[in-house]
């Protein structure tokens, strides 16, 4: 961390400032007998220990948390000072130059799905929250902050689609990411988000999965599949490997098969790969929560693994926001002026496309998908990292010609799955999220596909919930299991009978 970086200092010092102000408040409270204490669960302090995390988790559904939020104070001075320090030319101009033309309206799936409610127009959403915060110089009340929280987490998934349809190029998704940071600082953050950010602070993973759990589970999975794939192994902490593989902690907890599948594909492709014992989690709920300090800690943890093991490249799992957090945005949180992680880092689809292209993995043409298949474009690496053609290249290998049906719109113009930006996990806003799923539901129905390939955990979950809610009969899958079902096993790797 470059001590001369004033701007980073301004961001970092938020934490220090927060502490300073807290102490100030406590002292003055003692003196004046002020009667607006912070809540036990809902307060401006991030969750930083396992005990606090467990306690917060124990407040089922955030009942007490939200109750306390009703009387949460706003630290006006801190809020305004933060805005002054961090809202610079780009965002300031965005807020001022908005021509109020309303062209962003029908770019936003939430506007469309909510019967074109004018209050869902992106420009309106941001002007009524951030615009107001700036106009009022941070002098806002609890009710206002509740409204901001709801707008930032239930009326925007930060999909960045609106920025593509604005003549001025005003990206309201980015602004809402910024707003979430302000909300988090003031403690107005959804319960699950606060927990998620806390998880990253305590475990450097989005769930309570320790480094031991990770390695144990990976080894367990490899053992299970060893007989089918002799020689299958998971090299741990290997230095100088070609590939360093990072995952989503949810795979360890809920879909460990994914770990095995990743190992199998690397094995069949003959890759020299490894996983780190520490710094294996690529995701960042902290990003959804607006906890910038935790974002920084999380990505630095992964970068440390890269620097420790010096792989040629880092390959992430099939997850959208993990890629965005660690590879796209992460370098900036870590103060890297190159905008790149320490090691060339690619998304799983980039590795897979390359492996198929170079013949490291060969597909048996008779096993290609012969039913109508469509493809979900995950905002975080299609719109926001340009991988639109890579995923389609993969389709060309694994889907029988004539069976790939595009959604409409598609590529970088595709809509959010409905569950992005943390929407999937916030109980308080579940009804809004379920409504949002309708957009993707209708796209799937119009595409005529029976199966949707969704190389992103969030999108995968959203589509699963979509099917649970609306029962349209769609099947959905990641890429790994599909590729495994049709890949040719090289002779020397076949099991001996």
């Amino acid at each position: 961390m470059n001590p001369n970086n004033k701007i980073a200092g301004a961001i970092l010092s938020d934490a220090a400032l927060s502490l300073f102000h807290k102490k100030q408040r406590e002292t003055s409270k003692f003196k004046e007998g002020c009667s607006m204490p912070e809540g036990k669960f809902c307060n401006k302090k991030p969750v930083e220990t396992e005990e606090e995390l467990k306690a917060l988790l124990g407040d089922t559904g955030g009942k007490q948390y939200y109750e306390e939020m009703k009387s949460l104070d706003i630290d006006h001075e801190l809020l305004w000072k933060t805005i002054q320090n961090t809202l610079k030319s780009r965002m300031k101009t965005w807020l001022e130059i908005c021509a109020h033309c309303g062209m962003c309206a029908d770019s936003c799936f939430l506007y469309l799905i909510n019967d074109q409610d004018p209050r869902q127009v992106p420009a309106y959403k941001i002007q009524s929250t951030l615009g107001e915060l700036v106009k009022r110089k941070g002098k806002v009340d609890n009710e206002f902050m509740h409204m901001v929280m709801e707008t930032a987490w239930a009326k925007c998934t930060c999909c960045n689609r609106c920025g593509m349809y604005c003549p001025h190029g005003i990206d309201m998704g980015i602004m809402f990411g910024y707003v979430r940071g302000l909300c988090y600082q003031q403690g107005f953050v959804p319960w699950e988000m606060k927990i998620g950010a806390g998880m990253h602070r305590v475990y450097r993973a989005q769930m309570d999965v320790t480094d031991e759990d990770f390695v144990e589970t990976f080894e367990w999975m490899v053992e299970e599949y060893e007989e089918d794939y002799p020689g299958l192994e998971v090299p741990v902490d290997k230095e100088g490997a070609d590939i360093l593989y990072t995952v989503n902690a949810r795979e360890v907890k809920h879909y460990p098969e994914d770990l095995a599948e990743a190992a199998i594909l690397f094995h069949l492709a003959g890759e020299n790969w490894t996983v780190p014992t520490s710094g294996w989690e690529q995701t960042s709920l902290a990003m959804f929560a607006g906890d910038w300090a935790a974002c920084k800690m999380q990505v630095e943890h992964v970068y440390a693994a890269m620097e420790r093991l010096k792989p040629k490249r880092m390959v992430g799992t099939e997850c959208g926001h993990a890629h965005r957090a660690t590879v796209v945005e992460g370098p900036y949180w870590a103060g890297r002026s190159s905008g790149k992680p320490p090691v060339e880092s690619i998304h799983y689809v980039e590795w897979l496309a390359e492996a198929l292209r170079e013949g490291k993995l060969k597909i048996d043409p008779t096993k290609r998908l012969k039913k109508p298949v469509t493809l979900q474009d995950s905002c975080n690496y299609v719109r926001n990292n340009g991988l639109k053609d890579i995923t389609r290249e993969i389709m060309s290998y694994i889907v029988e010609p004539g069976y790939f049906m595009e959604m409409s719109p598609n590529r970088e113009h595709n809509y959010c799955c409905g569950g992005g930006g943390g929407f999937n996990g916030i109980g308080l806003f579940r009804p809004q999220r379920n409504k949002a799923l309708i957009t993707k539901r209708d796209q799937l129905l119009h595409s005529g596909a029976e199966l949707v390939i969704s190389p992103c955990h969030n999108c995968w979950d959203a589509i699963r919930d979509l099917e649970e809610e609306y029962k349209i009969g769609i099947k959905w899958s990641f890429l790994k299991p599909l590729v495994i079902s049709m890949v040719e096993i090289p002779e020397h790797l076949k099991p001996k009978e």
Partner: protein, 229 residues
């Protein structure tokens, strides 16, 4: 009108208003870019100047073409009245014969001039489009909710020179009166521009360039074909 009023308005006042306009816009443009922060914006501007430039140019040029982006195509009516307004609003003040004659008197040379019929058509397009832009603000709920009195004033400020210009050009009423008003409106526009939303005259390019750099450098520009606006 006394000759001195006309001389004043086309002499010192013109210099002043043009000066304020040009310097003010330049200042805003420069300040915008100086205020960008690679770390806060999370875009490594300086690290990839070529990709940044490509992205910026792509981002600007596509949006300058009617129906050149998905955004324009999604809103055909708006696109028509938008370009109907802006094409004339840019070309007529710059290339109208009458203006260039004044220019010749002031600085000694003139720019290319528009065919008078074309100038008429463009100016009418500006006025008609402005009317529709205003109606649009009233009629469409998604625009209405955003619109404030300020938006109407800006529109009025922007279209007033064109309306008064037409009135003078068709010599309705007192020619000298309307000419004076026209010049005043024009100069008011020039003076107000750097301090109001009319600054979008340059900030449109600045803002689009920034987003273009963002997509060109960080959000995919280095991975293939670039953003398909």
């Amino acid at each position: 009108m006394e000759a001195s009023m006309y001389d004043f308005l086309t002499g010192p006042m013109l210099w002043l208003s043009l000066g304020i306009f040009l310097i003010g816009m330049l200042v805003r443009f420069v300040l915008y870019f100086r205020g960008l922060s690679w770390q806060l914006d999370r875009v490594a501007y300086k690290a990839y100047p070529l990709q940044g430039l490509k992205g910026a140019v792509n981002s600007i040029v596509k949006w300058l073409i009617p129906f050149g982006t998905y955004g324009w195509r999604k809103q055909p009516f708006m696109t028509v009245i938008f370009f109907g307004f802006h094409i004339g609003a840019v070309l007529v003040p710059l290339f109208l014969l009458a203006h260039n004659l004044v220019l010749k008197e002031t600085i000694g040379f003139l720019l290319i001039t528009l065919n008078p019929l074309l100038a008429d058509v463009l100016t009418w397009a500006v006025v008609v489009s402005a009317v529709f832009l205003a109606l649009r603000r009233i009629a469409l709920p998604e625009v209405r909710i955003l619109t404030t009195w300020y938006d109407y004033i800006i529109l009025l400020l922007a279209v007033a020179p064109f309306i008064t210009g037409l009135v003078a050009r068709y010599e309705l009423g007192s020619y000298t009166f309307w000419l004076t008003v026209h010049i005043l409106c024009g100069e008011a526009l020039l003076i107000a521009a750097p301090f109001t939303k009319l600054s979008h005259i340059v900030l449109f390019f600045a803002s689009r360039a920034q987003l273009g750099m963002d997509y060109g450098i960080k959000r995919g520009g280095m991975k293939g074909k670039g953003m398909a606006w």
